[in-house]
Symmetry: D2
Subunit: 303 residues, 4 copies
């Protein structure tokens, strides 16, 4: 057994709990204009991307997170052709989107070019060529600005953002004002999905995001999935102008899955239903929260 | 924010990864004849029981684990009246069993009287009076010996054991020989369920337990649920002489749940189906393993 | 190798550096009226006393600290008969004082009776019967109040206090006002010594204490010694109304040492000189600080 | 306060005790042919070099270690002109040697060219131009091989080696056979000094090295100094063919120090005496050990 001494310690509600990751190798460690970026090889989760000391995704289970983020929204739209992804610097979100033969155009907007470059160079297993796909346009810009100013229409908008921690600029990509901008960019039967923080560490933020999407979209669904490397059940919220993800026929999902490029490892028609079914303790926790996130009163992930 | 300095560090595949628990208060710390017992109040998971440094259950989510362990088996049996629980010193397993009005007799067999006493005294939130229920008989004995020697018949047998780590005596409560003894104690339509270690840390052990139950019982089902405080999806295996848990009518589950004493927080008819549905990556991982656990070649939880 | 999972993590200038102590056994863990008290058996330093998570003394090297605290002051006084100790709940400070055959009376004043009781019960190796010595009177009282109100005269006053961290009441036992009270209690050729925090973590506090003693006493000497379990060189300051510790004849020290009860393990006439000799880097660090600690502007140990 | 999440954890007698170093910046992290090299900026000790996870020297107190290693030997020789340094990749050992105006030639022999290059590039504060001094010759070679094969004569030989941990090749640079080779390279009044591991973690190794030097040299002296960043008192052993370091006149030291290039921060004539004076507890600990280290039975630093 090789000795271990380099660790990334992810503090959870500092300093009460932590996840210690033994580091086998440092692939990249540097500061971009926006954040500290570390790409390391851990013993337990393989290659990992940390931004400001917080695990963003791991070789071990990035597919759980990315499949859970992308496919419910794509399946909710009957025929997704134009997709906008905000964030998702690793390139795994667009990788999942590109599996759909119907997709003609993907615009990916990320603030931090250096993170995207580091991911392309040191974590090619995430994007697997997605950045080179001719359907993809990469835009380096602040996501809210892009949505506000772009005149284009999309079928699906996927918000793969960093968590709305108190100092983060992403706080304003989880508000009613922003979701209204997104809605204006959606075509008929358009669908939006956002990662919605941790069910465990920030149930209030998760609930507020759900409430906020529900205040803007006729149909809103909170769902969740366990992401082991995040130490938590992870939340997502989907808003739809057309179909309800909870009433899609499992046979439709099965049949569309068969036509995708490559094979999924996690998501399928049963997982689809499971994710949307919040057990009683989660429903109760969410229902305690009535607030809607606005630019004046945003949702924050503690601490 | 109160300063923290006392920690329980749960090493996962030592020393590559760890879960650091900040300790607010030590309620009990001592050595029994069999193991080191710590009952502590953590900041993140509330009161917790650690045996030999491994978290057994936490106030935060013990109900997820215990409901997932108990109810699928109880629901698989059409009319459970006599229940045997091996292990489960905290008293939460029998608490869940006692919710069923049909239950007439529960025998709980635990090796370590001191652990049971510590749990009754320092963790009454777990058992909530279950030990005082007149239907319960507590037997302090080695579980395998009890099963081998007792002449009684049970409807449901629940194995709430410590993990089969290399030095643990519980290794021999996960073998074909033992499951055959259990089977002989079951009545018609009898059901057995065992915790089956971590899907993440010990997928091989999980798979071997599934294979072993399948070698002994006509119907065997592996299922899983996320247990956040265990940092993992947790595995269970159910063996049945009668019904298949995967084909129970959701309406039956709903209607039986309504008649239970108290309300569940996690398990319901949709959760029942979700737990039994292993996603593709899990099915693949399990299907790689062909071995059956025997007394000669047991399943071990690494390391 | 026994597995380790219980740790006391001493944060040094939280959270930038820490000393992790693996715990073999918890002997006592509880909260007194004033502080959190943990007596534990560590793997590296044997039995240890922690107050509010900070190591106070360890079986491994408590004698280094206590001999360094007590003997330079006792040797500086030509004939110490009446000794006052403030703090020192472990009983090791009075143990060292009682070695001198000339000592007739020792008053030990400690604020926290419960700590003294815990030490007597769980750490008898420290006091080795000192509390039972008929020359000792134990007074449970706030030290500054005792010094202000007592009418008694002492030859040597030893301040074995907790560090002056920002919230600690001991802050006011490191000020000019307090040292003036102490001086009034001293007889001719009287000597006072105080622990003076870490040379490494709080050089400013060490320097201020030195300046403060120098503002009150005609002779003031800062000295230091490495205390391994404290991760630091440790500082002390001695104030004298009579002799200068730096000019005591080594032969006098040697000859007085021979008459002590029991044998010292660390202090001798060469150590006496070494401790008083601050190397250049220490002298420079101290000389940068000009401030004197007063009740209005006390010395604090960071953070 | 900037959040911290990257740590180097130095395990001391793994896993019983550790020193956690918060990392502000990773300057270099890579594997040479021989070892893992990390140059990091810590919060508490500034820039640090770690080899295989073990701190080699820190900006905070490298001068304490290097002055303690170099000057007692240089002062013991009456007129050091030719100096051999084995190890010392940081370049601080030769920096101290070059302060002596009498020095005409310094041969530095290090096994690992990549470490030397990393130190020159990322840690120029250590060598401060020493590698560029025309008196210095850098030889990349195994130290024992160099000493065995070189025909040159030296006045002082300084062994600045990594610790003799069980798998380390440096084990054979702490044996009688090796010291005899060194002795053959020394001129009249020649002096050899070696770092001699930790007084705390490996007192047996320290004692064996002392015994071994004493078996080869007419005069042998063990000495020590606290090195805070090493969490320990650190040991050294000096062997001399001529003068005894314990009987050098303090005035001679003082006067030679005045002629050195630059100013020392730690070593002076009083420190010289203090370092050579082992307190009783250390003498006792050393005197328990009778063994001499040989190629067949080397001294090891645990574990």
């Amino acid at each position: 057994m090789e000795p271990v001494w380099r660790y990334l310690i992810e503090w959870i509600l500092t300093p009460y709990e932590a996840h210690m990751h033994g580091i086998r190798r440092v692939l990249y460690s540097g500061k971009t204009r926006y954040q500290q970026v570390d790409v390391v090889e851990t013993y337990s989760f393989g290659k990992c991307l940390f931004l400001d000391g917080k695990l963003q995704s791991s070789e071990y289970d990035e597919y759980v997170y990315h499949e859970a983020l992308v496919h419910p929204a794509m399946m909710t739209h009957p025929d997704p052709r134009r997709v906008l992804v905000i964030g998702g610097g690793e390139g795994a979100t667009i990788r999942e989107v590109l599996r759909y033969p119907s997709v003609e155009r993907v615009v990916m907007v990320d603030l931090d070019k250096e993170v995207v470059d580091v991911c392309r160079r040191y974590m090619p297993e995430w994007s697997r060529g997605a950045f080179e796909d001719p359907r993809v346009e990469l835009v380096i810009e602040e996501g809210r600005k892009f949505v506000r100013e772009c005149g284009e229409e999309f079928d699906v908008v996927i918000l793969d953002l960093t968590d709305p921690t108190p100092d983060s600029p992403s706080v304003y990509l989880y508000t009613r004002e922003f979701y209204e901008m997104v809605k204006r960019r959606l075509g008929e039967e358009g669908v939006m999905v956002t990662q919605a923080t941790s069910v465990r560490f920030s149930p209030k933020a998760f609930a507020m995001i759900r409430n906020t999407v529900a205040a803007v979209f006729p149909i809103a669904r909170a769902y969740y999935t366990p992401v082991t490397s995040f130490l938590s059940l992870w939340g997502f919220v989907l808003g739809s102008l057309g179909r309800d993800p909870a009433s899609i026929n499992p046979d439709e999902i099965r049949s569309r899955l068969e036509k995708l490029t490559g094979e999924l490892r996690y998501y399928d028609e049963v997982v689809h239903i499971s994710m949307l079914h919040l057990p009683r303790y989660l429903r109760e926790r969410l229902d305690e929260v009535r607030e809607v996130a606005t630019d004046e009163n945003p949702a924050y992930m503690p601490p």
